[in-house]
């Protein structure tokens, strides 16, 4: 009881301190409603070809990823979209998925100054996706610290690393880099797990599955098989040697010691020990939290940390994941998207390496009962100083209505605004139900308000442009010198808010690497950066409403 009281008092004091540090945000934040409008900008003519068949091959319902990146460093975010492939029916063995056919290419769209897009896939050298690959996801990071973002594409089949040559073109360096992986890769992300200044690569894998191993599932009607029908697999961690090659350290790091049904991945230093940890959302098995031991190894701590299962000790159908601080207590929390009748789960970071399931307290219980979530983002869409939640939704099974009339295959996205730690549904800008999958978040039009691009099976991407408002914001680009150039793994605090620098998270997708902060009515900001190198940097009285590049100092 004494401990409880102390906890409550301590929490109240923390909230008070936070309010004082955020001053105007807590006391008088204008409640600017986020108003998205959906649009398909001219030139963004991509269609995600998942090729559904009556055989219900599992891969059909799983793609595809989307990335925000500024590949040509012109200051405008470009969009990369991952395509599935053609699945012949009946399927030849092996199926090559016809990826040479332009309909099945991944696509890179360059943003023009007028907000339109130009398809630059071919001229960028990204048309070749290899044989036998069915596309899944994408990760973006500057693995060679040359200032240009590189692209890693995950597949059912071999993955591909494209090196950005800096002249608008890319080169497939997969073989040299040694990162082809294999099997069924899903989400991936770049991180610097050993703080050596070079980005490493983590790849989730879903199942030990092949086209020829597909089997009929379902009683009333044929369905996509649940993952439990197939053996689990381990994920992959590649260590960046710094010479353009990577070493597969999955085994020696301990990552391969745990087999699951990995779908999403997100990174943050949850225990404040200075090393980036890894959360993997698993489908229908325990979720994995790989604690970084700081010596090149990881220990899976999901159960011990309280994030492996729900509050009721039940397994989650973990799909997408985001690892950011939703309640402004300075510690990264975890939100996992799931299937219906499981809540979109919020694991609150209570400190001391322990989390608690606060899905009900945060209001997600009433927002996620019959819906299924995939890609998601914790971003401050209304710039009020609290990160909001955007979830792309759709059931896994395209015939789910036949099994349960209260469920739907096509669903509109969910926007939930964060009111001091409690999420409440708001207008997402679209009520059109779609088979949503990937989602990337970033300021597409550089107006200081976060936009969203989502993917949908068999359809065009949806672009949610944020109409903005009158409150203030600040967007930070980190430029590491001793740390990795992208600054991934840095903890950045602005006026009491915290972001962990990463482009990973969501599902299959890669976000704008810039760190966005809503400032409410605050016109200046105090910024603290804890770089992965250990350097701490403080900037004060920074004017709001600007894009700011922060260069890592050479000395602490």
């Amino acid at each position: 009881m004494i401990t409880d009281r102390r906890e409550r008092v301590s929490k109240a004091l923390r909230v008070l301190a936070l309010c004082l540090s955020m001053a105007t945000v807590c006391l008088s934040a204008p409640s600017a409603a986020p108003v998205f409008h959906t649009t398909l900008p001219s030139g963004l003519d991509f269609t995600l070809q998942n090729s559904p068949t009556s055989f219900k091959f599992l891969i059909e319902t799983m793609p595809g990823g989307v990335a925000f990146l500024d590949y040509n460093n012109d200051g405008l975010l470009d969009i990369f979209l991952v395509n599935g492939g053609r699945i012949a029916s009946p399927t030849p063995e092996p199926d090559d998925f016809d990826r040479h056919d332009p309909r099945y290419w991944n696509r890179l769209y360059r943003q023009n100054r007028d907000g339109t897009f130009t398809d630059v896939t071919k001229q960028a050298g990204l048309a070749n996706v290899g044989d036998g690959n069915y596309g899944m996801g994408v990760a973006v990071g500057d693995y060679d610290n040359d200032g240009y973002p590189d692209i890693y594409v995950t597949n059912f089949g071999k993955n591909i690393l494209y090196h950005n040559n800096g002249d608008g073109t890319f080169t497939d360096v997969t073989a040299k880099a040694g990162v082809a992986g294999g099997g069924w890769s899903v989400s991936a992300g770049f991180l610097d797990y050993d703080n050596d200044g070079k980005l490493d690569l983590f790849v989730t894998r879903y199942l030990d599955w092949e086209m020829k191993l597909n089997k009929p599932c379902g009683v009333v009607t044929r369905q996509y098989c649940p993952p439990g029908e197939f053996p689990r697999v381990s994920n992959i961690l590649y260590h960046n040697r710094g010479d353009g090659t990577f070493e597969d350290v999955s085994v020696k790091s301990g990552i391969a010691g745990k087999k699951g049904n990995g779908l999403g991945v997100a990174f943050a230093d949850y225990d404040g020990d200075g090393f980036t940890d890894i959360f993997v959302s698993n489908d229908v098995v325990e979720q994995f939290l790989f604690h970084n031991n700081g010596d090149g190894t990881f220990t899976e701590q999901g159960l011990e940390a309280g994030v492996a299962l729900t509050a009721d000790g039940k397994k989650l159908s973990g799909m997408g994941v985001v690892f950011q601080d939703y309640d402004n207590d300075g510690r990264p929390d975890i939100v996992v998207t799931e299937l219906p009748h499981q809540l979109q789960t919020v694991f609150h970071n209570d400190g001391h390496g322990v989390f608690s399931d606060q899905s009900l307290q945060t209001g997600l219980g009433v927002l996620s009962g019959t819906t299924s979530g995939w890609g998601l983002g914790l971003e401050d869409f209304d710039n009020d100083g609290w990160k909001d939640l955007f979830i792309v939704q759709s059931h896994v099974m395209d015939n789910v209505e036949k099994l349960d009339s209260s469920l739907h295959y096509l669903e509109p996205p969910l926007l939930a605004l964060n009111h001091h730690g409690r999420f409440e549904q708001a207008d997402a800008g679209s009520t059109t139900p779609i088979a949503g999958r990937g989602a990337a978040f970033g300021d597409l039009n550089n107006d200081g308000w976060i936009d969203v691009v989502t993917t949908q099976l068999g359809g065009h991407p949806q672009v949610f442009l944020n109409n903005g408002g009158k409150v203030h914001w600040l967007t930070i680009t980190l430029r590491g010198t001793r740390s990795n150039r992208d600054g991934f793994g840095a903890r950045v605090q602005v006026n009491g808010q915290t972001r962990f620098a990463t482009a990973a998270g969501s599902y299959l997708s890669s976000n704008d690497k810039r760190l966005h902060f809503g400032l409410g009515s605050a016109e200046t900001a105090r910024i603290e950066v804890a770089w992965p190198s250990g350097i701490h940097q403080t900037l004060i009285n920074i004017p709001s409403d600007r894009f700011l590049e922060i260069l890592e100092p050479a000395e602490p």
């Binding site: 409880d4 309280g306 509050a311 000790g313 399931d357 009900l360 009962g369 009339s405």
Partner: protein, 362 residues
Amino acid sequence: MIYTKMIQALLALFLLAQTSTTAPGLSPQATQHLQAGVDAERQRDFETAIAEFRKVTELEPAAPTGFVRLGNAYMENHQYGEAVPPLKTALEQDPILPIAHQLLGYALLAQGYAAEAIPHLEKVGEVGALGIAQIQTGQASDAVSNLQAALMKSPKDPDLLFYLSQASEMLSQQSLDALTAADPKSSRTHQVRAHSYYVSHQFPEAEKEYEEALTLRPDVPGLHLELGEVYAATSQWVKAEEEFLAETRLQPGNAEAAFRLGDARLQEGKTKEALKELERADLLRPDMSDTLYSLGKAALLAGDSASAERAFTRVIALEKESALAAQAHYALAGLYRKQDKVQEAEREMQQFHRLQDHNGQR
């Protein structure tokens, strides 16, 4: 299933056989064959027993003993069809012979001739088999009575319990059919249809029927509760709360309604309101595991670790090895972990894993 009863009957006959091989009125030759048949039966050599008893019937065609023995041997050899003629002959010779009625009743029932079996089973008061036969002839009410009577003697007999559930279900359906026929537009008829849709997971249809029922009779106890359960099943917690609240206003003493209201509020994240209602449910009906588990969760969310610990501990004491007990152990592990009680947390996790294994959930 009915064979359990048959064997009991055969055992009764066997006991009879011990004393009747010296039955008066049989010729020495017939008695010899009768004894040989009984000996063969004891050795479970039913083919020989059948042959010996047949000789008895040939030597003494007017004595029922041989025919009863022959029918019994056929039944022991699972030749129920063949057992019927000699047993009928025995009854022609002695219409009140109880053992012949009993065996014939079982033989006919085994062959699916339930209606023919019933008079024979009634004559000997074989209420278990009679109840089973009555299910097949659609006499649900009589079947329930007879099976309940049989269960008074053998309360744990799985066959009888199974058939009682079937008979009860049939009786329920018959009652519902009668209700629907009597007034197809009544509130109760809509309620019946709604429940049927609910059971088959046709939730939108169930919702519509419950709403019709409530429009006609908004004050019927239980309707709001059931409609709330439809909303709960589809995770529409705001609507579920409204219905459960309406039910608690109608029935303030209904512990189930109080629990459901508290749980709905818990799902909505209304921790304090949930806690209040769950505490009320616990007072109305103490030691209801589901209430206690939700109470523990609500207390945990409200930051009252001591109350949460008490509630989860009570769940474990009540549930012992169940899945809910496993959940309570998991919740306790989280609670102790947060309090830095490492050993206690570890102990609870071990219990959680043990019960997961025990319940096949890992």
